[in-house]
Subunit: 231 residues, 6 copies
């Protein structure tokens, strides 16, 4: 099966991180193709940036339609995911939705670790959209301005682990979601040093999409709607 | 003051309905300018169509930035509204948000009258986004395929009024929201024949935007974010 | 149009503050008349005091019935508002309801700044009544016993501004509601020094009532009920 | 111990029904005194009527203060209960609160049987105030205009029992609350003919108040507030 | 009337505390019999331990069926309560359910004082099951490892009282629930030193069960189901 | 990897259905072992029966501990799942939790098709435990008494498909969950005849467990608790 992973951000360095984790997570025989948004921002942090990323991501999904068996929207916040599910006739998943579902299976209350305070509002609303906000213990983020979006994991390794311990000890989380494509793969690195399960968005999305493709449930009805799409 | 009313749909006939009701509702001295989305669908009914409309609407708001004192997103579901609020440094309102706030002031439980069953899911989620879903008595819609989006009010006048009475008698609504730009102005026509207040999106949006402009609260912080917008 | 603004508290000094802000906020041609509750407490802080204020306010609204086009219940917590809406056949708004609706249009999560800790429970329940509690970031209040209910703004200017910054930085509010008639007008003073929009109850109520009167939706059904009122 | 049962309605015939059921429910040694509101309506059905009843009930509780060990607010909807709890330094309970707590102990989802459709909104809001709305299966009411508030039980016995069966079979209720003082005692009559537990407001209130008096927990803090009550 | 109080834990020392408080709370003429779980853990703190306690408790209730008029499940978290209600044809109550209902009658927001941090998740879920989580101000617990489950009250008296004051001052609780059988009776000791009502699980359960037995509502329908129980 | 699938019911005929669907769903290389509860009921429909099934299921999981890489609790309602997750140090999933997570990825509002009306309450509470009740469109069930738990699919094929269409057309579901082990595999049969995706519990559980095992997140902290388990 072939999975198209779309990075709604324009940063190639983040696409590289996403691709690495996606390949590490994929089952043998799963082909991974990564695409980067042709326009938008380096890293989506606000509702407006998500609006732009949604359109860019849907455009990529539409252009390559027919060339893949499933799509991963590879930015936390899942820009455009709900619309893309209607647009295409194969399964689509997002980093947030997959992380939440995985976390909800591993524990009862989860916290989200993010890389910037500005992003918290947008993340909270994404959780609310899934109706799981009452299981959200907290969202904690790096306070520092980032040096380089491509090397966040290296630059703030200690601080990120400290935040993980904080959400368990102070906020009562029994699962941790490491949010955002720039942190793709970090969960794999640090999970053995943490007292509760740690969820990574990219690997959760790949695992769930593979599961959906194996279950191959019927396409959702609303999909027909984009037939009325004009220009 | 000058208000830019953006129709996220590409249908000029609907823009005409919107403009007429906007002018009827505006205070003396308020200038109304109506713009129609340059691309998208004739009438947004799904999440994907809303995603496209959101981008089209934000584009218009960005292009004309500086030429208006406030913006109305003139489609029920408010495509792009949250992002546009961050994008521009003047107030922006939407038909749904304004209708809900007006309804919430007039009563405790409201119902929404829509023109198509396909649109219900998208409307429900818009109400959930405002956290007022627990005050939503029901959403009822015309079942018939529409003859002409520009003449829905004339074509289905009787059926629409019947739906209004149904939500009061069967669903316990104490306020009715007539949803969707194609029905702009209908509330004005039928409100004296109905037992509870009837809310119109366009006139609510104009009234609330004028109110906000008079109060002129400070711009919201997140606005600075679009400064990081790239291409 | 003529608006009757009723202060559910017996403090004339607060009525003066309310009247000043109401006049500043009213459109040209809007006549403002302010009435003070004939009995009750100096400043409502508890459910029992609100019960008394509700009856006093409804009495004033009933006695002057016919002499106004709309009513503002001018105490945070809106004592008696829901009942008064049924009692009279013209629109009625309250400081809390109007503040919440304005805040909900300006942002996603709001905090309330109050003048006394004792009042927090009553304020929280008022927000719950509107079903918007899940958008309430926090309620913060002055801890000090007040010197004079009529000069709170002057006496605690610095502390109040500090609380405003706290709810933004610590609680994640993207809108601030300055609560309580004794603070009427303060938002106007300090909004340019704060990073997010600041909402004032009195001016929000005037703006929304003027909007409702322009929209003139039909009276709500339940109003007929007070016909069965006996003595 | 002496319990003051206050009927917030002015109808003596209903006070008689309340008194009979209160005496049937009281433990040996419990003295029951029933007072009727000095002003208000024959039967509270709206928010405005509840506002008047709240003030009348609180007045009675205040006037007789010192002469009782506990108070029952004997109308469904509990007009004034929250305020009265602050006003007096002994326990106060209401028909709705007591019915809901009893029902919540007997089952998971309850329905309310009421005597008039007009009353539904006010009842729903009372349930919301207790935060138990998500356990409310339905509210069903007699549709017929009442012949005599004092003889509703006799006049509509069959119809009321039919409603009880409907909420079990159609709405999934596993407990039934017979609401409103005019139906006091009916549960006792029909419970053996119904498949699930049936809760009566008056007897629940008496039982819970006796329990509270035996537990004699400390008075709630807010009570001190009415000390600031002026005239 | 005879009440069977079942301690779902295997600790006899806790059964002794439970029995003492149950006898102090019971009305004259009420016979109290206490049974200790034949297997399980010394003190239930997790979902798995609750699962075992639920089965052990239900077994005791089944074995002694016919010998009692009502059952109290005497561990906070009410292990097995919902199932036991279906199993037996007389009323059953639990410490948590009774505490919550009593607290909900005494105030609007309650906090829970627990004896171990590990127990918090299980307690929170028990509150969620009752749908009253939105009235939960906080859960605070002793941090120290316990010296002896039978002497927690003596060993940590000061710390427990400090926690009680904290939930009032910092968390806004207007009622305190002292949770867990090992603290049975503590409320009685300290309530006069605290500013808000303090609720004890055992005494609340006895009072409510006596009330239910006096009201004797009909058995709940689902009870018949255990007839299909096999081995 | 080896998966232990535990049927919390004692019916071997249902175990056979579960095993067949589990094998159809498993990836190559996944070994499936099915165990049947040693005691309990033929088919869990109530909270009490779930309590017994939980203990029986946990016992099997404990006895075979070390012989499997993951566990599936193979009854809708997930009896004992939360406790088993704490008990064992490898992942555990349940039919309901897996169905809900899969459904939440495929659509926004789901309905549940059940085989008996008696089971509805227990199913609703299981959905509430996951906090997804606000996305539950409806639960519809066969009304007829079942002929044979092992042949429900054959005996009621037409009726079950009719219920599926009803939840889409009347209740607004955009995903259907076919609930209960006796219906294992039915989704596979009928999904091409239905307008929206259809989710099967057993196959969802296998797919999600395989995904979790591939992600191998760390064991949850609470697991240590069962170390204190005594007898």
């Amino acid at each position: 099966m072939k999975i198209l992973v779309i990075n709604p951000n324009i940063s190639e360095s983040v696409s590289t991180l996403i691709e690495a984790e996606a390949r590490r997570s994929a089952s043998p025989g799963t082909e991974i193709e990564v695409a980067t948004a042709p326009f938008g921002v380096a890293y989506i942090e606000t509702r407006f940036e998500a609006l732009v990323g949604a359109y860019a991501t849907a455009s990529v999904a539409a252009e390559r339609h027919g060339s893949y068996d499933g799509v991963v929207v590879a930015a936390f916040g899942d820009p455009g995911l709900q619309g893309i599910k209607e647009l295409i006739d194969v399964p689509a998943v997002g980093l947030t939705e997959s992380s939440l579902m995985t976390a909800a299976t591993l524990g009862q209350r989860f916290s989200i670790i993010a890389i910037s305070p500005r992003i918290k509002a947008w993340y909270r609303e994404t959780v609310e959209r899934s109706h799981l906000a009452s299981r959200l213990a907290s969202i904690r983020a790096l306070e520092e301005p980032l040096l380089d979006i491509g090397s966040v994991q290296q630059d703030y390794a200690g601080r990120l682990k400290a935040l993980c311990n904080q959400v368990v000890d102070d906020d009562g989380a029994d699962v941790i979601i490491i949010a955002g494509a720039p942190l793709a793969g970090l969960a794999r690195e640090i999970r053995n040093e943490l007292p509760v399960p740690v969820v990574d968005g990219v690997s959760s999305a790949i695992a769930q999409l593979e599961g959906l493709l194996r279950l191959s449930p019927k396409k959702r009805r609303a999909a027909v709607s984009h037939g009325r799409q004009s220009s």
